[in-house]
Symmetry: C2
Subunit: 250 residues, 2 copies
C-alpha cells in the first residue's frame, strides 16, 4: 500500500510522551508542512504559536484542564485563525478591507485546520506522537490573553507533540457507510442509528466505561459526563462573546 | 526526505482534470483516510457527500459559481459539519443532548476539516489532483437544499478531485517567520508587514495581476476584486442566518 495512506490509517492519539526534546530541523519540517496546506485565495489566514518553554506550558496547561498530553508534551502548537496580519497589510496598502465578519472567520478556520492536519501528519512521519486538544475554544479568551493575541485572531485547535511513551490500541470508527452519503444526504432512521452505533455500543471498551460511570448506555456518557449540556452552553456563550470581541461577528 | 513530508510539500491546487473516472477502490481509500483523522471525543462530527453523478454536479456547480474545477472534476466531496447523526443517537438512547450551540459547531468544523485534509492527501497519494472550493459556505443554505441536509448539518468545505490535466507552478507562501510565533504572539509592525509581503508583492505574477486589473497594489486586488467588503458582508449575513436555521446558534 501507498506509504502516505498507510501512515494516515495508522494515526492514533498519543497522550504520554518521553522526556526528549524535538530537534530544530524536525520542528522546521512540521511548520513548513503546515504552511504548504491549501489556503483560501492563498491568504494564509492562520498563525501558529510554538510553545516549548516550560513556564509558558505551565501557564496554558490549566486552560486545557491540565490534561496529561499538555503536561508531558515537549512541543505544543496552537493554531489560530488569523486575519490580523492580512488586515494590517490591507490597511498599510490603503486597501479597504471587509473581513470582520463570520464568512471571513470561516475561511480562516478552514485554513487553520488544514494547516494543523498537515503538521500532525508531518510530525507522525518523523515518528512523533500527537494529540489534538478539543479544549482550545473552551478558554479561547484566556488563551488569547496568555498569548497576547490581538483582534482578529482566535485559537482554534492545539496539537501536543512528542516522542511516544505509550502504544495504545487504535480507536474504533463508525462504519464508513455511516458517515458517507452518495449524491444527497440520506437522513438516518432509528434502525440506521442502531446499525451504525452497534459495534461501538457493544465493544469491551464501552462495557468498561458503563461500569466505571454507572450509566446505562454510551450516549449518556457523552451527555452526562464528557460533554454536558450545562458545560457546552456555558462555553458556547463565552465563545460567542469572545468572537464578538475579536471583531469577527458581523 | 520522508515520503509523507515530500508529498505534503508538493501540494498544488489542480483545477483542470482529465475526463477519466476514479476507480471504486481509490475512492474507498480516500474516504477511509478521511475517517481516520483525529476527531473530538471520537464523535466523528462530519458527513461526506460524494458527487459523481452528472446531474447532481450540474445542480451544485452554479452554487460554486461554475468554477472550472467543479465543472471538470469527476469526483466532488463536500465535507459537512454534522451533529444530526450524533444527536439522533443521543435522542434514541434517551440521553439529553446540549449540542445546539456554537461550541459544538466549532468541534464539528474542526473534525470536518481534519477529515478533509486527510482525504486531500490520500487522493494526491494516488496521483490525483485536488482543489478546495472556498465558496462552500457562500451558498451554504442552497447547498443544504440541494443535498437535503437536515438541521445540525452545515457544508464547510468542498474538494474537487480528478486526474490532473495541467501542471501549474507551485504557489508561493509567506516566509515561515511571517506565520510562526515563538511562545507568544508578536504583533506585526508596518516594517514586519513590508518584509513578510515583500517577495509576493514583487513577483512576476503580481506584476501581471496589477496590469490586468489596473490596480496599484496587490492588497487592492483582494479588497476590490476577489473578496470585496460588499460581497463578504452579504455572504456573512446569509451564513449567520443559515447557522441559526440549522440550530447551531445558542
Amino acid at each position: 500500500m501507498n506509504t502516505v495512506i498507510e501512515q494516515i490509517l495508522k494515526h492514533k492519539s498519543i497522550r504520554h510522551y518521553q522526556n526528549k526534546p524535538i530537534a530544530e530541523d524536525i520542528l522546521n519540517d512540521i511548520l513548513t508542512a503546515a504552511s504548504r496546506a491549501a489556503t483560501t485565495g492563498n491568504m494564509q489566514l492562520y498563525s501558529i504559536i510554538v510553545n516549548q518553554d516550560e513556564k509558558m506550558k505551565q501557564k496554558i496547561a490549566p486552560l486545557h484542564f491540565n490534561q496529561p498530553a499538555i503536561i508531558e508534551a515537549p512541543l505544543i502548537l496552537t493554531f489560530c485563525a488569523d486575519f490580523n496580519r492580512f488586515i494590517k497589510w490591507c490597511n498599510a496598502r490603503d486597501a479597504r478591507h471587509g473581513y470582520d465578519n463570520m464568512q471571513s472567520f470561516m475561511w480562516a478556520v478552514v485554513d487553520t485546520c488544514l494547516a494543523a492536519q498537515n503538521a500532525c501528519l508531518a510530525a507522525e512521519a518523523h515518528g512523533l506522537g500527537t494529540c489534538y486538544l478539543g479544549t482550545t475554544t473552551y478558554n479561547a479568551k484566556e488563551l488569547a490573553e496568555a498569548y497576547h493575541l490581538p483582534k482578529y485572531v482566535v485559537p482554534i485547535c492545539c496539537l501536543t507533540i512528542g516522542y511516544p511513551d505509550e502504544n495504545p490500541e487504535y480507536t474504533d470508527r463508525l462504519p464508513l457507510e455511516g458517515i458517507i452519503h452518495h449524491e444527497i444526504y440520506k437522513d438516518y432512521s432509528s434502525e440506521d442509528i442502531d446499525n451504525i452505533y452497534h459495534e461501538r455500543e457493544n465493544s469491551e471498551l464501552t462495557k468498561r466505561l458503563l461500569e466505571e460511570n454507572q450509566l446505562e448506555n454510551l450516549a449518556k456518557i457523552f451527555t452526562e459526563r464528557r460533554y454536558t449540556k450545562k458545560d457546552n452552553e456555558y462555553f458556547a456563550e463565552r465563545l460567542l462573546t469572545f468572537l464578538k470581541e475579536q471583531d469577527f461577528f458581523k
